[in-house]
C-alpha cells in the first residue's frame, strides 16, 4: 500500500472519489424482483388455503382425516419452499445487484432487506397471515427501490392472482 494510496483514501473522507467501473456483465446483469414478489404471493396464498381448510371434527372418518392431512402437508410444504425462494431471491438482489451507489440514494435498503429476511423466516415457520403479508410488503418495497434504480416509475396494482394483494409493477416506457 503506497503513501499516495493512503493519501487518496484519506481524501475520500473529505470528498469521496467518483467510481470508475471496470464493469463486467458476467456474472451480473439479469435481475428482477418479480421472483421474490411471486414467491411471497404464493406464501400468502398457502396461508389463505390452510386457513380455509376445514379441520376434521371428532366424528371424522379416517379417510377424511387422511385427506385433511394430505392437503395440509402439501400447503405447508409449498409455503416452506416459497418462503425460502423469496428469501433467496432477496439475498441475490441484495448481494449481487444493489451497489453502494444505490445505498446512498436508499439508505434504508440494508435494514429493509434484513427485516424482509427475518419476516420470510417467520412466514416459513408459522401459519401466520400477518407474517406472509409483511413478507409480500417487504418484497414490494424492495421492488420499488429496484425499479427506481433502473430509472422506471412503478405502479401499485391488485395482482391478477387469487391473492389479489397490492403489488408493485414497473411502468415500462
Amino acid at each position: 500500500m503506497s503513501l499516495l494510496y493512503l493519501l487518496a483514501r484519506w481524501l475520500d473522507r473529505i470528498s469521496p472519489a467518483p467510481i470508475a467501473y471496470a464493469h463486467c456483465d458476467i456474472p451480473c446483469g439479469i435481475y428482477d424482483p418479480h421472483h421474490a414478489q411471486l414467491a411471497a404471493h404464493t406464501v400468502v396464498r398457502m396461508v389463505d388455503l390452510i386457513n380455509q381448510l376445514e379441520k376434521p371434527g371428532t366424528g371424522a372418518t379416517p379417510e377424511q382425516r387422511q385427506e385433511y392431512t394430505n392437503k395440509l402437508a402439501r400447503y405447508v410444504a409449498t409455503k416452506e419452499q416459497h418462503s425460502e425462494i423469496a428469501k433467496n431471491e432477496l439475498r441475490i438482489l441484495w448481494a449481487d445487484y444493489f451497489k453502494p451507489e444505490h445505498l446512498k440514494t436508499f439508505p434504508e435498503l440494508h435494514d429493509l432487506v434484513w427485516k424482509a429476511l427475518k419476516t420470510g423466516s417467520k412466514a416459513r415457520q408459522e401459519i401466520n397471515l400477518q407474517a406472509a403479508e409483511d413478507l409480500l410488503k417487504a418484497t414490494n418495497d424492495i421492488a420499488s427501490i429496484f425499479w427506481k434504480t433502473k430509472g422506471f416509475e412503478t405502479i401499485t396494482a391488485k395482482a391478477p392472482y387469487p391473492t389479489e394483494r397490492l403489488t408493485i409493477y414497473p411502468k415500462f416506457k
Binding site: A8, A17, P18, Y21, D25
Partner: protein, 100 residues
C-alpha cells in the same frame, strides 16, 4: 479546470492492471495536445448509464472523432463489443497513475 481527477476503481474487467479498490489519477488535459492512442487506459462516461464512469483500454481509434474500448479481462467486460465505438467527447481523461 484542474487537470487531475481521482477515481476509485470497481469491478474486474481491467484485471490485473486495475482492481477493485485501486485509485487512479486521471489527466484531463492528456488529449489536448495529442490524439488518443490504442493502448491508453481512459476514464469515459458510460454510454449506457450517463451518470457513471467506466475505466477501459482503447482498443482501436477508427477515426479522429471516435474510439473503441475493451476491458483487459475480455471475458468479463462490457465494452465497445456491446455498446459500439464512443465519441471522443465522452472521454474524461487518460489514466496517469494507479494507486494501490
Amino acid at each position: 479546470m484542474f487537470p487531475l481527477r481521482r477515481f476509485r476503481v470497481e469491478d474486474d474487467s481491467m484485471r490485473p492492471e486495475l482492481a477493485t479498490g485501486d485509485y487512479v489519477l486521471v489527466n484531463r488535459w492528456a488529449y489536448r495536445f495529442r490524439p488518443p492512442a490504442k493502448g491508453d487506459i481512459v476514464v469515459v462516461r458510460d454510454p449506457e448509464t450517463p451518470d457513471r464512469f467506466l475505466v477501459k483500454r482503447i482498443s482501436d481509434v477508427p477515426d479522429a472523432g471516435q474510439i473503441r474500448l475493451a476491458g483487459d479481462n475480455a471475458n468479463r467486460s462490457r465494452d465497445s463489443r456491446t455498446f459500439g465505438p464512443i465519441d471522443l467527447r465522452e472521454i474524461v481523461g487518460k489514466v496517469w497513475i494507479r494507486l494501490r
